[in-house]
């Protein structure tokens, strides 16, 4: 609660808060040849509440980027439903879907690859405006300059090219482009992972300011749990295509209810030698199993330090259920974590 007060956004009431996006039992399988499939996202349900920042963490290959693309409907679901407000996006096709996408924007990881090197910054930022024929001529230019100012760049830079900018500045350009259509939801897919520490802080602060100013809702994806925890109201942890825990970001750290979350937290080095040397690493044995043939029962059982084998962990899949108020976890033994 103290956290929300500092950020200036009201803490969403646990169940009463309006959800902006609702994901219901979404599955995404990619064909992997010989009739096999990569189970990238395997039956996940959650909601993103209006005005909040929902953090999404997990290691490479856990399905977090695929999930981002499903939420924005850049790729179709194999099964399941994605709602935006009351509208079921997964039912829409073509022009209708395109119109809704205006409200769902993305910021990408690589500020070098995500901007066309042969377009001016002005044209890059205005491309969404052109696509939807929002404004033209002098007004278009005004809007571009306004957007540049919003993200902290010189408004007269609109005729420059991406190569003239540093990584942090390019990420600001990407943010300006994402804001051009006044979206409701912005999905930040590893948006700060490629930046230097001192620049990361600038962009994190900018995202927080913009959220307050434009009442944005964020789905913030990163593998760096310390940044995710910092920026998010709630944190969602994924493992091998499944959500294993969703909780308030302070509670995630103080009392995780899933052993994977605990291991992930213990692995992040704290920049303080006194603290860091006293911390105990929850060592995970083995490697992340293949998402083509995920383990039976709880997918984490092959690496779990508290699994009881074979019953129930290797046999029964634990449901994602409320362990405390507004704190969900998928573990048979969450009280032992």
């Amino acid at each position: 609660m103290a956290e929300a007060a500092v950020k200036g956004t009201p803490a969403p009431a646990p169940s009463g808060a309006k959800s902006l996006v609702r994901v219901e039992n979404v599955v995404k399988h990619f064909p992997a040849g010989l009739g096999t499939h990569v189970h990238a996202v395997d039956g996940v349900s959650f909601d993103i509440r209006e005005g909040e920042t929902l953090g999404l963490v997990g290691e490479s290959g856990c399905g977090k980027s695929t999930l981002a693309r499903l939420v924005t409907q850049l790729i179709p679901v194999t099964s399941g439903k994605v709602f935006f407000g009351d509208v079921e996006l997964t039912k829409l096709r073509g022009e209708k879907l395109r119109q809704y996408r205006r409200q769902l924007q993305m910021i990408f990881q690589d500020p070098f690859a995500s901007l066309d090197p042969r377009m001016t910054v002005g044209d890059i930022i205005a491309e969404p405006l052109d696509n939807f024929r929002i404004v033209r001529g002098r007004k278009r230019n005004q809007r571009v300059q306004e957007l540049l100012k919003i993200v902290g760049l010189n408004p007269n830079f609109n005729n420059r090219y991406p190569h003239e900018f540093s990584g942090g500045q390019r990420q600001r350009i990407g943010i300006a482009r994402a804001l051009a259509l006044n979206p409701k939801l912005v999905v930040c897919d590893e948006a700060i992972s490629a930046l230097d520490v001192s620049i990361q802080a600038q962009i994190v602060n900018l995202l927080e300011d913009l959220q307050r100013e434009f009442r944005l809702t964020y789905l913030f994806i990163a593998h760096d749990l310390s940044v995710v925890r910092h920026i998010s109201d709630r944190v969602m942890v994924m493992y091998l295509g499944k959500i294993v825990e969703i909780a308030d970001s302070v509670e995630t750290y103080s009392s995780p209810k899933h052993p994977y979350t605990k291991a992930l937290l213990s692995a992040i080095p704290v920049p303080d030698p006194k603290v860091q040397r006293g911390r105990r690493l929850v060592e995970l044995t083995g490697e992340i199993p293949s998402p083509i043939n995920p383990p039976s029962g709880c997918r984490f059982h092959t690496r779990c330090p508290i699994a009881r084998l074979p019953t129930p962990c290797a046999e029964t899949e634990p449901p994602l259920e409320e362990k405390r108020r507004d704190h969900l976890a998928a573990c048979h033994f969450s009280s032992d974590v």
Binding site: K7, S166, G168, P271, K274, V275, E283, E287
Partner: protein
């Protein structure tokens, strides 16, 4: 303390580019003591990797080490012939890199590549193979015998980095230089690799130079640290001290700008405004002055040298954080804007 095993004096590495000379490493001096673990931290372009590559004369074209000394066992590595330095590389001083994928040859079996590190220094084949198996076990690769025959693509990222470490340790070097060895890995794997390096450092007494941008990695593994900015060391000293009481505004800002996973409250991050300087035209005076909240007039014109600021701790700053705290309200600053604490702005106060 024992005598240093490696002494670097006034190291200078430059790149001749179309735009002019880039001074990537500009007068870096430090010592490495036997068995210690020294961190070199800095952001991209600070010269930390170039410093490491310069020690073994591995700087890529068009870069060149143009000055200084690297003293190892009474010889200057910069003066050796290319045959002589090749003898040192991998035998006395080994290096591991960020991306184990591109450091391993994809068409050779992993085990053989570890063998090669020893064959290159004259170890007989059968002995090399036995030692490789021992090393693969030492770096905790399960089923070492079968992994020996695997090609790199059959191993996970963490396993490949373990194989690289095995290769680095093959000839029991006195020094292991690790250049961002965990940056490409997931955090749980990173934690395992760091623990492995710490154990090897303790058990084998191999001195480690850890190049990283991650202050958390330094906090966990290193005993001393050098902080680099724009090709120079701006602060150095024992890790506990540097973290508890940094004296250079850059070190201080860096620590303030990182979110901590153990933080219990959400506080706005104090970001460092501006960006890293262009090394073609580095700023006059102190190179950090364009971004420094505590700059004074002198910082614009005179370059500070590293000076003792505490036991074993040295910083290159005209102001230092002790004074910035006392006189400029450093602890209350909300934003780390240039001149925020000292109110010195070019064109206004000057």
């Amino acid at each position: 303390m024992a005598n240093p095993i490696l002494q670097v004096r006034d190291l200078r590495t430059q790149f001749a580019t179309e735009g002019g000379i880039v001074k990537a490493v500009d007068g870096v001096s430090f010592e490495l003591y036997p068995g210690e673990s020294l961190g070199i931290v800095g952001e991209s372009g600070s010269g930390k990797s170039m410093t490491a590559l310069s020690l073994l004369r591995l700087v890529p074209e068009p870069g060149r080490v143009v000055g200084g000394q690297v003293l190892f066992r009474d010889q200057d590595l910069l003066q050796l012939t290319s045959e002589e330095i090749r003898e040192i590389r991998g035998r006395d001083i080994a290096m591991i890199f960020q991306d184990p994928q591109s450091s391993l040859n994809p068409v050779l079996r992993t085990g053989f590549q570890v063998d090669e590190a020893m064959l290159a220094h004259g170890k007989p084949k059968n002995q090399a193979r036995a030692r490789t198996l021992e090393l693969l076990k030492k770096v905790r690769i399960p089923a070492a015998e079968s992994r020996y025959k695997d090609f790199p693509h059959q191993l996970s990222g963490g396993m490949r980095q373990r194989a690289m470490i095995a290769m680095g340790l093959a000839n029991a070097p006195a020094i292991l230089i690790a250049d961002e060895p965990t940056t490409a890995l997931d955090v749980t794997v990173q934690a395992q690799i760091l623990e492995l390096l710490a154990d090897l450092n303790r058990e084998l007494g191999t001195a480690i130079i850890m190049i990283t941008h991650n202050m958390g990695v330094v906090a966990g593994l290193c005993t001393r640290v050098l902080v680099m900015y724009a090709g120079e060391i701006v602060e150095q000293g024992p890790v506990e001290q540097i973290f508890a009481n940094p004296q250079h505004p850059y070190t201080w800002s860096l620590l303030k700008s990182m979110p901590r996973v153990d933080a219990l409250r959400h506080e706005r991050l104090r970001s460092i405004e501006g960006m890293a300087p262009d090394l073609l035209r580095p700023p006059s005076g102190c190179r950090f002055h364009p971004r420094c909240p505590f700059r004074i007039d002198k910082c614009f014109t005179n370059e500070p040298q590293l000076e003792e600021v505490g036991p074993g701790q040295r910083a290159a700053c005209w102001v230092t954080m002790d004074r910035a705290r006392k006189e400029m309200g450093a602890d209350e600053l909300k934003d780390i804007r240039p001149g925020a604490g000292s109110n010195v702005h070019p064109g206004e106060d000057r």
